[in-house]
Symmetry: C2
Amino acid sequence: MSYLMRTEIGEQPEVLRRIADEEWRAIQSVAQQIRDQGIHAVFLAARGTSDNAAAYFKYLFEIQNGLPCGLAAPSVVTLYRAQLNLHGALVVGISQSGQAPDVVEYLAHARANGALTLSLTNDPESPLASASHFTLLLRAGAERSVAATKTYTGTLACIYLLSEALRGQHDAPQRLHHAAALIEQALQSEPRVQEIADRYRYMRECVALARGINQATAQETALKLIETCYVMCKAYSVADFMHGPFALIEPGFPCLLFAPDGATFATALESASKLRAGGAETVTFASNEEILRLARMPVPMPAGVPEMLSPIVYAVAGQLFAYHLALARDLNPDQPRGLQKVTRTL
Amino acid sequence: MSYLMRTEIGEQPEVLRRIADEEWRAIQSVAQQIRDQGIHAVFLAARGTSDNAAAYFKYLFEIQNGLPCGLAAPSVVTLYRAQLNLHGALVVGISQSGQAPDVVEYLAHARANGALTLSLTNDPESPLASASHFTLLLRAGAERSVAATKTYTGTLACIYLLSEALRGQHDAPQRLHHAAALIEQALQSEPRVQEIADRYRYMRECVALARGINQATAQETALKLIETCYVMCKAYSVADFMHGPFALIEPGFPCLLFAPDGATFATALESASKLRAGGAETVTFASNEEILRLARMPVPMPAGVPEMLSPIVYAVAGQLFAYHLALARDLNPDQPRGLQKVTRTL
C-alpha cells in the first residue's frame, strides 16, 4: 500500500492514544473553564470534514451534558456583518489546518462579542489557535492526504474527552485507549470491504444513512466518497430520509447504513426493513446479526463498541470503503481532482 | 394544468397576503414575549421541508436580530432521553401538519425544561400547537400535494414577519405584500423554466448551490427534485462545496445556482466563474446580468428583490423547475413513489 490515505487511516489508533496520553490535562482545564463560566449553549464553526466532527460534538454534548449546541453559519458574520450576542456561549472553531479564514473570523467575532472561544486544530501556531481563548491539539502529525482521516477521528477523540471531562469522568483516557483497540479490530474488516468494493465500480450515486450520533459518520463517509470516488453521495438521518428522499428508492438503489448498537438501533432496524422491502441495495455496517441479515452486503463490525465512541470506530469502516472504492475505480485517492489540502473561503 | 402541485404553487401570493393581513397581530405579540423573556438563543426542531424553513429562520434572526440560532436534533430527546437545559432559549417547532411525533415530543421536552416554545403549523388543532406556548398559523389552506410548496413559503413569511416584529419594523406586512407581487413576477419565468426542463430529462444527479440565507432555497429545491423527479440532488453552501465536493465537477456536471443580489453575491459570482472553468453545466437563477452570462442556462429573476425576502421569491423558481422537470420525465409530481403527506418518525 503506497497511498498516503491508507497510511494515515492506519495511524489512527496511535493518534487516539497520543491524545489520551498527552492532551487530557489541557482538556480537563478547558472543561473547568466551561463549568466556571456557566456556559448555556455551544455554537460550532467548521467546514467540510470538520463540520462533520461538529455534528458529533452537538450530539455528544447534548446527550451527555444537556448543553444545547448548534452549528454556526460563518457567513452571517463574514458576509452579512451581523453582531451576534454570544455572552454565556461557548464557540468552538474546528479546522485541522487552522487556516480556514471564515472560521477564524467567526471565532474572533465571537470572542469580541462575549463568547468563550475554543479551537480544535492540528497546528498550535495557526491563525485559528491565535484567535481563540483555548486550543486543543489533534496531535495527528502532518496529514498529507487531501482526504482527511486521522485528523477527523483525532478531532472526535478530543471532543469525546472534553465531554467526559465536563461530566467528571476521570477514566475517559482509558476508554479512548479502548477505542483505539476497537479501531484496530475495525481495520480487520478491510478484506471484506475490499472484496465488495468492485461491485460498486460503476455506482454513480448513493445515500449514507444513520441516526443520532452516527449522523456524523454518514456525513463523513459521504464526503469521503465524493472526494475520492466522485460518487454523488448524500447523507441523511434515517428520520429525515423517510420525509421525502425515500422516493429515491427503487430496486438496486445503493444505501450505506451505519447501524451500531444503542439507543438508535431500533429505528435503524426498522429502516433496514423498509429499504429491503423497497428493493434497495444495502451495504450495512453493524455488529447486530439481525440487521446484517437484512443487508445485501453486510460488513460485520466489532461487538461491544460503546455507543458514544461508535462514530470513531465506524468512521474508519467508511474510510476503508471510500479508499477501496477509489482503487476499484482506478482513481488515486490522494489526488482528488480540483482540490487542495487547505481550502480558503470567506 | 391539472396537478395539485402547480395549483398550490400558484396560490402562494395569496397565502403571503393572508399572513400579512391576518397573522401580524399574533406575530407582534410573540415578538413581545421573546423580548420580555430575554431570550438568548433559539433552537429549531423540524423535518424535511420544514427543516429548510428552519435554516431561513437561523440566518434571518442571526443577521437581523443578533440572536444565535441552531437546528435541534430531536433524537437527542426522543431516543437518547437527554435532559437539555433550555432556560432562556426559544424553541421553535415547525410542521405544516403539526403531526410530526418527534418534533412534538421535542417541544414538550423543551417546554418542561425551561424554554419558551413556539410552533409554526398549518393546523391550529394539531398536537404541535397544543404542545407549545404560542402558535403561528401558516393560513395556507389545505395542502394536498405531497410535495410541500405553499406551506414552505408560508412558513418563511411567518418567520420574516416575526423577525421584523422583533426589531420593531412596523411596515413589515406591506413588505410581505411586495414579496407576494415579486412571486407573481417570478411565476412569469415559467415559460423559460418549462423550455429548459427537457434538457434535463435524463439527468441523474446534480447539486444545488447558494450562499448564506439562500442556503434554504438550495436545500428546498434539492428536496423538491428528489421527491418529484427522483434526481439525486444535494444542496451545498458554495463555501462548503469548495471544501471537497468540488471534486465532483467534470464537464457537463449539472449545478443549479441561486444567486440573488446582496451580501453573498460576490462569492456566488466567484463560484460561477470556477464552475464555468471546470466545464460544469450551470442553471443560474439570478437577476444580475454578469452572472447570467456565465451560465449555460440562465433563468432571469425579477430585479430589486430585497435580500432577506429573496428566499421566498427564489424558492418559487425552484418549485417550477422541479415541477416541469417531473412533467418532462413523465412523472406525476403529486404522487411521489413511497411517500405519504404526513411522515411520522420518532
